[in-house]
């Protein structure tokens, strides 16, 4: 039995399914609305697969105007709307309820405008993250945020979760690379925030929308800042026999004035899994860092010399420079397949609590203690440069009670992150997964004003309800009559 509660569906809406579906199908082109239970089942979950519930219907519009039509009809009928990109959320951000309509942006997948003089692209938000860079790389540009699901995840989902990726130490997260959006409000009105210029007009509603997990509207178009591709990039691999020394190495590199584009960290459990899976030739050690720098040949050499000097001063078990593209690819190969490799040996729950970089060693130690106490292994593979940890709690989904134990341990680890001055989630979103833990991060007044912001955008609380905010806190707004079930 899964332990995260969702509200009871509204029986009146379930009974009105035919009427709701008819209104949508009449207003929208053929094959836009999916309502056959055999087909809606494909949308019953996102990447947090332990939680599943088919929606009432799924709408897959081909234009912003069609999204607006669907939103207007749902709003008029008091139907909840769950926005969906590619469904790769790890936090249940795209999980439907039985009485909700999913509005998905998957068919909004055109690149509308590329402007290299003004350095932006305008895209429909159903395009995948990787395809944005794919469309401009031949012209010497790239789009910086690169979440590890970038092959599948959409720009819409990236905006909803303010996604980062491996390179945000240098290039920032989605919010720092998003110039404007076209968004459908909860009542179906279309608004534009920001545009192809460096500062949005008026209050920064654009910054508010980015990372709001579908609580404020459905973003259908995005104007994205693009950057000229660097002349080159090169990783080095550094192994340590002590996690704290690796953490110290990260802090010293950052403090030296070198700003690597990425500093990745893997621990022993992860290295072993990766080696069994990919044979990347990683050294067996307690902590492995991959540090990547960018620039022209001489610039790379200068930065790597500094990194090497710092690392050698900390007595590494290995310092491996990559001499060519092949060796560089091999260094990254293991890291990039880490999640897949872990999935080969176990079920896992992936957290993404973030802590100040200086708190990394102590937090890793504490996670190790909690892992022992709860009898579940935890592997660590994460973006060390920005403190965004990804503890993977290993468990067996077929062992009764194991998932619940993993969830309890996960909550403990996230509390440790908050106590260390960090936060519950760096880039995966709160979704349903960390909803109840919001009380750990925020006082009642903090949550209340956030909910008041949602009131302004979505007075009926129809957009992605029962997410982000703790159920007890949001209950009076979502539905005064609603009961909760386990």
């Amino acid at each position: 039995m899964s332990s995260i509660a969702m509200p009871l569906p509204d029986a009146g809406l379930l009974a009105a399914k035919d009427r709701i579906v008819r209104a949508l199908t009449e207003a929208l082109p053929p094959e836009t609305v999916i309502f056959d239970p055999a087909e809606t089942r494909a949308y019953e979950c996102d990447a947090l697969t332990a939680y599943r519930c088919p929606p009432l219907a799924v709408v897959l519009p081909r234009s912003t105007e069609e999204v607006a039509t669907a939103m207007r009809l749902c709003h008029a009928a008091g139907v909840k709307v769950v926005p969906r990109g590619a469904g790769t959320s790890l936090a249940g951000g795209a999980l439907p309820t039985a009485d909700s309509v999913i509005i998905g942006v998957a068919r909004l997948n055109r690149i509308l405008e590329t402007d290299f003089d003004n350095r932006f692209v305008r895209v429909e938000t159903g395009v995948t993250n990787l395809s944005v860079t794919g469309a401009i790389v031949a012209d010497g540009f790239f789009y910086a945020p690169d979440p590890s699901s970038q092959l599948a995840c959409t720009i819409a989902g990236n905006i909803a979760n303010n996604s980062g990726g491996a390179h945000c130490l240098r290039y920032g997260v989605t919010a720092n690379n998003l110039l404007g959006v076209r968004m459908v409000m909860a009542d179906g009105e279309i608004v534009e925030l920001g545009g192809p210029y460096l500062e949005p007009e008026g209050l920064d509603l654009l910054g508010l929308v980015c990372g709001s997990e579908g609580q404020l509207g459905i973003v259908t178009e995005a104007t994205l800042r693009i950057l000229p591709s660097p002349e080159g990039a090169r990783p080095v691999l550094i192994g340590f026999d002590n996690a704290e020394v690796a953490g110290e190495c990260v802090a010293r590199i950052i403090r030296s004035g070198v700003l690597p584009v990425a500093i990745e960290y893997m621990d022993r459990i992860c290295i072993e899994a990766v080696e069994a899976f990919t044979h990347a030739g990683y050294p067996m050690c307690e902590a492995l860092l991959i540090v990547e720098v960018e620039g022209a040949e001489a610039e790379i050499a200068e930065q790597l010399a500094t990194v090497e000097q710092i690392a050698r001063g900390l007595d590494p078990v290995e310092f491996r420079l990559s001499r060519g593209a092949e060796e560089a690819a091999l260094i990254w190969k293991g890291r990039k397949s880490a999640f897949g490799a872990m999935g080969q040996i176990n079920d896992y729950m992936c957290l993404d609590g973030t802590v100040p970089v200086s708190a990394l060693p102590a937090t890793l130690r504490r996670i190790g203690e909690l892992s022992k106490a709860h009898g579940l292994d935890v592997a660590n593979v994460f973006h060390a440069g920005d403190g965004n940890m990804h503890p993977l709690i290993l468990y067996d989904a077929n062992t009764p009670g194991d998932q619940d134990r993993a969830e309890v341990l996960g909550a403990e680890i996230l509390r440790v992150c908050v106590e260390a001055g960090g936060c519950l989630t760096g880039e995966h979103g709160v979704g349903i997964e960390k909803r109840e833990l919001m009380h750990e991060q925020f006082a009642a007044a903090d949550l209340e004003i956030q909910m008041q912001v949602k009131d302004v955008f979505d007075p009926g609380w129809l957009l992605n309800p029962a997410k982000v905010f703790p159920l007890d806190a949001s209950a009076p707004r979502r539905d005064p009559k609603a009961g909760e079930r386990a």
Binding site: C168, L198, E201, L203
Partner: protein, 377 residues
């Protein structure tokens, strides 16, 4: 109005001050260093609230590139501390004293409240891009926290971005957490004289699409300037490549280089009284906007952010006339310094966006007591 500013000693006292003012409907004018406010008459029942008592750096963690400071902390304290670790605020916050004719010491809270971002914005991002978290007191006197002090954070709505640039109209910042970066070890300017705005923007567009990390691209008085920064190796390499690509330029280094970019940052060339507008636009629209401003209104203009930021000065540039100069362009205009007797003017927003903004104001400051003159912009 009494000239004496209320000076809360801490966040709790500030909350009491605001709660009392909300109850009595007393307008509050929030002052950090008082350097970013436009001099104008203030209602008789209004009070100034000084944040000078909320000062001090709370956390500086150079290895994590983070700084947490009370909102009233003077910028010079922050700059000095960061410099001791060869770090700096990457967004190069503008000092408004020159254009607004104000005295006093700019504060970090004021920089955040105005989203003050200098020439490096084109490469490194704006103030709002480096804001990791805030504490503030809203218009009801409630103490609120949003964000944190880590670089990646999607835990709840990002209220910091909403307050950044809101001019203290939604809440009074009490503490801000910022991402800092290593300071460039060296900087050099390549100056290209005899370029009109059109030629300058073309140069900026071409230069900014190279991988040479141009960290400033600004124009005034017929000269286009490109700034390169980094280590000695990086600056030498980039200079050579840019000169090869864009032809001979005057090379400016050392103090002259620093002064030049401080001038662009603070818009010292448009100091003094008179109308001053700040226009954010798509760079390739800038030449036409500037031409219209000059031909129709006789405005003098300069460019920053590779053409993405236009400063327009003149004796009296009427809002509707300035707005007309933007017709057909993508961008928006704000009157930062009104001529005598006129008011500042905010950029216009679409009706629904304006309605949402007003509704947010109603929630954050139900009694409408916080910086009422700015809120009416």
């Amino acid at each position: 109005m009494t000239d004496m500013a209320t000076r809360p000693g801490d966040e709790a006292e500030l909350a009491v001050t605001i709660r009392d003012a909300a109850a009595s409907g007393t307008p509050l004018f929030i002052r950090g260093g008082g350097t970013r406010t436009v001099a104008a008459p203030i209602p008789d029942n209004a009070r100034h609230v000084s944040l000078a008592g909320l000062s001090g750096i709370r956390i500086y963690d150079p290895g994590a590139l983070t700084l947490v400071a009370a909102a009233g902390t003077p910028m010079h304290e922050i700059d000095a501390l960061l410099a001791s670790e060869n770090q700096s605020l990457p967004f190069e916050p503008m000092d408004h004293r020159a254009i607004l004719g104000t005295n006093g010491a700019p504060t970090i809270g004021g920089a955040v409240a105005t989203n003050a971002s200098g020439p490096r914005r084109v490469a490194a991002g704006a103030c709002r891009d480096h804001l990791l978290g805030v504490r503030f007191v809203d218009g009801s006197g409630q103490i609120i926290r949003s964000g944190g002090r880590v670089m990646k954070n999607v835990t709840g709505l990002d209220l910091g971005k909403l307050l950044c640039g809101a001019g203290g109209t939604l809440g009074v910042l009490t503490e801000v957490a910022l991402k800092v970066l290593p300071a460039p070890r060296l900087g050099t300017t390549l100056s290209y004289p005899d370029r009109d705005r059109s030629a300058a923007v073309t140069l900026f567009c071409d230069a900014l699409r190279t991988p040479f990390e141009i960290s400033g691209a600004a124009w005034r008085d017929g000269t286009a300037h490109l700034r390169i920064e980094g280590s000695d190796t990086q600056v030498a390499y980039r200079r050579e490549r840019l000169l090869a690509r864009f032809g001979a330029a005057e090379v400016i280094e050392g103090a002259a280089h620093a002064d030049l970019w401080r001038g662009f940052r603070d818009v010292t060339h448009f100091a003094g009284p008179g109308d001053l507008w700040r226009i954010v636009a798509r760079p390739t629209d800038a030449p036409a906007i500037c031409a219209a401003l000059r031909d129709r209104l006789g405005a003098a203009t300069s460019l920053d952010w590779g053409g993405g930021l236009i400063w327009a000065a003149g004796p009296d540039l009427a809002p509707s006339a300035v707005q007309n100069c933007l017709t057909g362009a993508k961008g928006h205009a704000r009157r930062l310094r009104p001529p005598a007797g006129a008011a500042p003017v905010a950029e216009t927003t679409a009706p629904r966006v304006a309605a949402v903004s007003r509704a947010l104001k109603d929630r954050f400051d139900p009694a409408h007591i916080l910086n009422p003159r700015l809120a009416a912009m």
